[in-house]
Subunit: 596 residues, 2 copies
């Protein structure tokens, strides 16, 4: 400890909100270099190496072959697939001295595809599974939570190459199982949820989420087994109704009713209906959104959804990808006076509107099915229209030219789309993401091989990522208490922290001897040799650092005993100094075998 | 082999000039991604990992603690030390989405200094030795020779921090010895040569060069033990002579003598002197050079040197650093008509010239000492001046305001500056470079600690680099023959390459068994299981790949023998199949122990 390059901090860093960020900085594992960019200190690097080794073993076990691509790549392949544009400001871009456009890769689909194109020409070269563990870059708008959302981070990214869909299925399943083993070995409980493909493209995709309230991802699950990232949950639309025989739409003065709440109140007081009272679910809210395309183009769109649901901005972002979404502002409305704030309605929206707002696309929530009747805006101040029937008075979701955006909030109690019961919500950290990319990249970059019939067949691909530095942070989130970190033995920077207390040189000599004997027995030992620090400071440091077993050599030595603290169990036991090495070895080896 | 991600090439890559580049690409160790930027394939990564492990062990042995900095860094610290500007176009620069200036680090002195400033406050925290093995970036103007001069490469960079000079000396010596052990273990002969500090600054500095004709660095050595990079060799000036009593300078028509050769010829024919004839060494050549400063400013300078020596552009570049040097061109001369090409002389140059060229600094070679007399230009077409005496007619080297640039070529036979005899020249690959930085960075970034007297003392630093990927290339340069690579066993991607030949399933079964038994015995085995390839193709591949021992299982198996080829020795021996595992183990383990 007197030589180790570590400086523990008693105070949390000013910008830290989550436990992993606070503790990894305070315990001297990482240090911030720039927003979202960290330096790894000796203790942190040891844990990182151990986590990488587990990932590597499991990748090798399923036949993955390790390679390492540059982080700095030419732009061309990403231009060929369109991702150069799609990534927008999230990608670090630069020009070299010859003005060639380059990027710091956020992920490597393009260049893996090109490498395999370069190296493989026949179905006999496949199936192939390649991976790397490597530094990735993403220029996050809001880097936060330490390692949980950084701009430079370490990822394991693997890619599978197959001639046919069944091969891709096998590769996907092998990765899925390897991920389960990896997170199991790391001691991280994960939930596998259906996910959106986002920037990757492709069809099937699942995320591995570590469930924790500090997670950035929200997911929904049902008791019946459904689980999906909130962005991937699909709404369950009601059945369509006949439009015949429904009352005519009727424009009605609604003075001052420029919110859903005031509209419902006024409807019930002035236009009460038989049976149940009007509710927000009877209103059709038309929300104006600015979609900012990667090119920088700003397009206004309107989303019509039931008035009892808000737009979920993350679901909206996923639905509009690669465009980014933001609420429309004053200047947007200024260019479209026909969009009367608080009173916007379908009569000026959509392809079949009598006098549509020009250049404004209209989207509907999937719940707005044909035959449903709505109270909605009449496009004039203090005017609404009752009995506006989808499919009769405006185009309902799924009808000609009227696309659906499924971006309304999902609420606890909503039905799971697979009929497996009501949904509940939880939060998690995305640790892994696996994708069946299919042929998107192979087609864009012309990766074809000769198949068994001698014909050129486009290769089908999968892409499989694990956030290695994020997994480390997730472990820190899970494994700590009020005093500090508590690492599982097999990823801890050391197995045993030997602490000598007091001033007696005999105690220090005994502690050194024990530390050496423990190392001799194959354990990794950190020895606190500092002669001038108080026992209190040493204990506080040891608890903060989080080595799972602390062996205290102090006054008890005179009576032949030392103390073994088990940080995870929270217990302290006196053990005979004479058998300390064998007892500690036994305890540590048991923990290592159990992965605790 | 049927599953390994490798594709051997029979042809050299078009852009490859050196053996390491050709063979590493042809054998499927690396693949070019962009100019000077490579992807590591499975075989290459294995060798790289083994080399890194050796470097890591030796750094740990001298108390180095491993950390890992980001490759992507903020500009500020580099602006504080001036290197943001000094690096000029050699540094990859970018702006993040918030327009903050960032760089891809070519080396990390600044941020190590800041980290230690952040973590250490007292002399008790020192001495400290930190290192990292990490990807570095340098936007080379002319990336070449594969891994030997790349734009993305792996370096081990270590930094020492001490309170006093003797501490720095100890750290420097420890690194120096560690380097000798590392290169010794890698099997790379190195010459340690004095070096220029260049971009690093600081005082003492040495390079570790692997001697090879393909090396980019030229160094000079004497039989008496002197060794220096050619950039760091200092000329041995002759003794100064009295100026009194020398003949007057005399302007003389020299029609058509616009080269040194024609001038000497004319001098000997029309102005012969008693004793030895005029030679080029009697002429003072004034070479006009454009120094391009990092700011982009272009400054003309003139270097006066004996006419028998050329300017060595690499020595000149080192002398002018951080400016870059290039020969002056027509447009440069157009702005200075007083510089008459072919006839430039000191009368228009230097601070004491009667009518000096404005804004043109004049430098002299160290050999131009006071009292030496020269034939040199008279600043008019077809005019030279004889008996132009340094220190009388123009300012000689070292005299007031007249700086020296020691950039003339060094030639075999020149005297070593330490008097140890004549120099001879050789070429080498720079594998390591160690620097005593002193307090340059600590002062620029205010790294101070409390010393034993409670006073704030500026820390003194050293910086120690090894080009890890370059060391791998140097090994490939050294360890190959006409058929392919021949790795030393301890860095080879595997120890034994088992090759089954023919079509007989019994042979393949026996080969698999041997491969498994060899692995069981702790060896790393690559097994060529390909049933359809001819023995010729398999042998060619095995020899190209360079695994040092090839065990051939073929027809001889019927008579109970297999063949063991030792690639390094070039020998082939029949050995009994029954004892093959023990015999091969013995051979490999002997090689591993010997580091062969």
């Amino acid at each position: 400890m007197s030589e180790l390059f570590v400086k523990t901090l008693r105070e949390d860093p000013a910008d830290a909100e989550v436990a992993s960020h606070k503790l990894l900085v305070r315990a001297g594992y990482i240090r911030r270099s720039a927003p979202g960019i960290y330096t790894w200190l000796p203790l942190g690097l040891r844990v990182l190496d151990k986590i990488e080794a587990i990932v590597r073993q499991e990748m090798n076990r399923i036949g993955g072959q390790e390679v390492r691509f540059p982080a700095l790549l030419p732009a061309e392949p990403y231009q060929a697939t369109g991702r150069w544009e799609d990534y927008g400001p999230n990608m670090f871009r630069l020009r070299d001295r010859k003005e060639a456009e380059m990027l710091l890769a956020p992920t490597h689909e393009e260049v893996f595809t090109l490498l395999v194109k370069d190296m493989c020409s026949s179905y006999k070269d496949l199936p192939l599974m390649l991976y790397q563990i490597q530094t990735k870059y993403r220029d996050e708008a809001r880097p936060r939570a330490g390692l949980l959302r950084g701009r430079e981070f370490i990822m394991k990214d693997a890619y599978s190459f197959d001639v046919d869909d069944s091969g891709l299925d096998r590769a996907y399943e092998a990765q899925r199982e390897a991920y389960q083993r990896i997170f199991d070995r790391l001691g991280l409980d994960v939930v596998i949820v259906s996910a959106m493909s986002g920037a990757m493209g492709g069809s099937r995709s699942e995320e591995f989420l570590h469930s924790t309230p500090v997670g950035e991802d929200t997911y929904a699950r049902s008791a019946g087994g459904y689980a999906a990232n909130i962005e991937a949950v699909t709404a369950v639309p009601p059945p369509a109704l006949p439009t015949d025989g429904q009352p005519q739409a009727l424009v009605t003065p609604t003075p001052g009713a420029d919110t859903i709440e005031s509209l419902v109140k006024l409807a019930n007081s002035d236009h009460a209906r038989a049976g149940e009272p009007w509710s927000a679910a009877d209103t059709l809210k038309n929300v104006v959104i600015a979609a900012v395309h990667p090119s920088g183009e700003r397009e206004l769109i309107v989303l019509g959804l039931p008035g009892d649901r808000e737009v979920d901005m993350s679901r909206l972002a996923a639905a509009l990808y690669p465009a980014e979404a933001e609420p429309a502002g004053d200047s947007d409305f200024a260019t479209h006076p026909e969009l009367v704030r608080g009173f916007i309605g379908p009569a000026v929206l959509g392809a079949n509107a009598p006098d549509p707002a020009q250049g404004v696309r209209y989207f509907l929530d999937p719940r707005v099915v044909a035959g449903t009747a709505w109270i909605t805006g009449a496009n004039a101040v203090d005017q609404h229209v009752f009995n506006m029937v989808a499919g009769r008075d405006f185009l309902a979701a799924g009808q000609d030219g009227q696309p659906v955006i499924d971006a309304a909030e999902i609420r606890a109690g909503d039905a799971a789309p697979d009929g497996s019961g009501p949904l509940e919500m939880a939060r998690g950290i995305e640790l892994g993401h696996i994708f069946q990319l299919g042929r998107k990249y192979a087609e864009a970059l012309d990766l074809r091989v000769l198949d068994q019939n001698g014909k050129r067949a486009t290769v089908t691909m999968g892409s499989y990522g694990i956030g290695v530095t994020r997994a480390l942070a997730a472990l820190a989130e899970k494994c700590h208490d009020g005093r500090g970190l508590i690492w599982p033995a097999h990823v801890a920077p050391a197995h045993v922290h030997v602490v000598a207390t007091g001033k007696d040189p005999g105690i220090f000599a005994a502690a050194v001897g024990l530390a050496e004997d423990l190392e001799e027995a194959g354990l990794e030992v950190l020895y606190d040799d500092r002669p001038r620090e108080s026992a209190g400071v040493k204990f506080a440091d040891a608890e903060l650092l989080g080595i799972p077993y602390i062996l205290v050599v102090g006054r008890g030595l005179a009576s032949g005993v030392v103390e073994l603290k088990d940080r995870r169990a929270g217990t302290t036991a006196e053990i005979p100094a004479a058998s300390a090495v064998s007892q500690v070895s036994e305890v540590v080896n048991t923990a290592l075998r159990a992965g605790l």
